[in-house]
């Protein structure tokens, strides 16, 4: 049996009649591929597999991608198997900054911050004025245990949230 992986080198076995050159077709596929113009639903599909830091970074690389980023955030299209984030504020930061911590991404997420803007509907809470009964952005996240966060004296309030 011919290897199916040698497609660039040999004609695949199921081609019965060729109207063009296979090799040329491969070369043709190398131009005109503009990731910045990928359809929004495809971008959303990709973005829904990203963890929050990667999602945020993808959202700023161009205006068009930002639209998809906003869609993923707005409709909470994040994949269900992402690990939850601990959102906390601490005394050494100002009251409008929330820090995010993800136990599965310790090296990256410990340093991800977000300015809390009162105008932003999704994050319009003040972490220092609202108690721990805050609504979480994803109910499945509440299964995490809050004890670790509460033990830390610098974390006055905590909640679990997903992007």
């Amino acid at each position: 049996m011919k290897s199916m992986h040698g497609l660039k080198l040999s004609r695949p076995p199921h081609v019965v009649e060729s109207g063009g050159e296979i090799v040329d077709a491969f070369m043709d596929s190398s131009h005109g591929r503009d990731w910045s113009q990928l359809q929004q639903d495809l971008l959303c599909r990709i973005f829904s597999r990203l963890d929050l830091p990667d999602l945020v970074y993808s959202g700023v690389i161009c205006t068009y991608w930002h639209l998809s980023y906003s869609t993923v955030r707005r409709f909470r299209l994040c994949s269900g198997n992402l690990s939850p984030y601990l959102v906390y504020s601490s005394a050494d930061r100002d009251s409008h900054t929330a820090a995010l911590y993800n136990i599965s991404l310790p090296t990256r997420s410990t340093t991800l911050r977000s300015r809390i803007r009162r105008s932003a509907a999704a994050l319009s809470w003040d972490p220092l004025k609202v108690g721990s009964s805050l609504p979480t952005s994803c109910s499945t996240c509440t299964s995490s245990t809050p004890s670790a966060a509460l033990k830390s004296p610098s974390r006055r309030r905590s909640m679990y949230a997903r992007c």
Partner: protein, 174 residues
């Protein structure tokens, strides 16, 4: 594996259908494999694609279609088993190995593949390619993502816009 012989696939042997790429290359595959595409499935159920007439796919070139069919042929037996509840661990591992190797390809091919999988509505392939692209993005800064995916370097205005976005949404790594 698809047999290259055409003909009366209706009696005995697995039914074959012919797909015609945008550059007029004809591909003959088992109907079961082509039916992984939701788009093609209805046409095939209606009896299309057999005999002399093929199903034209004006949005998919031959290089991409052969890659798509490679995926379909590999995944058709498992799909026929209804998600393969009785598949052995070895089968599953083999499919996984195939998938990993399958998307280990040039970016331009990956792009064609994501468009083709979308047009043909092949759910498994769409997920596979989306996962691959997501993996390419993971752990990178915005500039690294741009470079990885071959975006042109940002103009000063775009750079300012990127910075403004970061500031506006207030995300920052300390």
């Amino acid at each position: 594996m698809a047999a290259p012989e055409s003909g009366d696939g209706n009696n005995g042997a697995a039914r074959m259908v012919t797909l015609i790429s945008s550059d007029n290359t004809r591909f003959e595959v088992e109907a079961a494999a082509a039916s992984l595409s939701q788009t093609l499935q209805l046409t095939i159920l209606d009896g299309g694609g057999g005999g002399g007439d093929g199903i034209p796919l004006p949005n998919v070139d031959s290089a991409t279609l052969s890659k798509v069919l490679e995926y379909c042929i590999k995944h058709a037996p498992a799909a026929a088993n209804g998600g393969a509840p009785n598949a052995t661990a070895v089968d599953r591992a083999e499919l996984e190995r195939f998938d990993n190797e399958f998307v280990n390809i040039d970016q331009s091919v990956l792009y064609s593949l994501i468009m083709a999988a979308h047009n043909l509505e092949i759910e498994g392939l769409q997920s596979l390619v989306a996962k691959k692209v997501a993996d390419m993005i993971k752990g990178k800064s915005p500039m690294e993502i741009r470079r990885t995916l071959g975006f042109p370097d940002p103009t000063p205005e775009e750079q300012a816009e990127m910075n403004a976005h970061m500031l506006e949404y207030g995300w920052a790594y300390e």
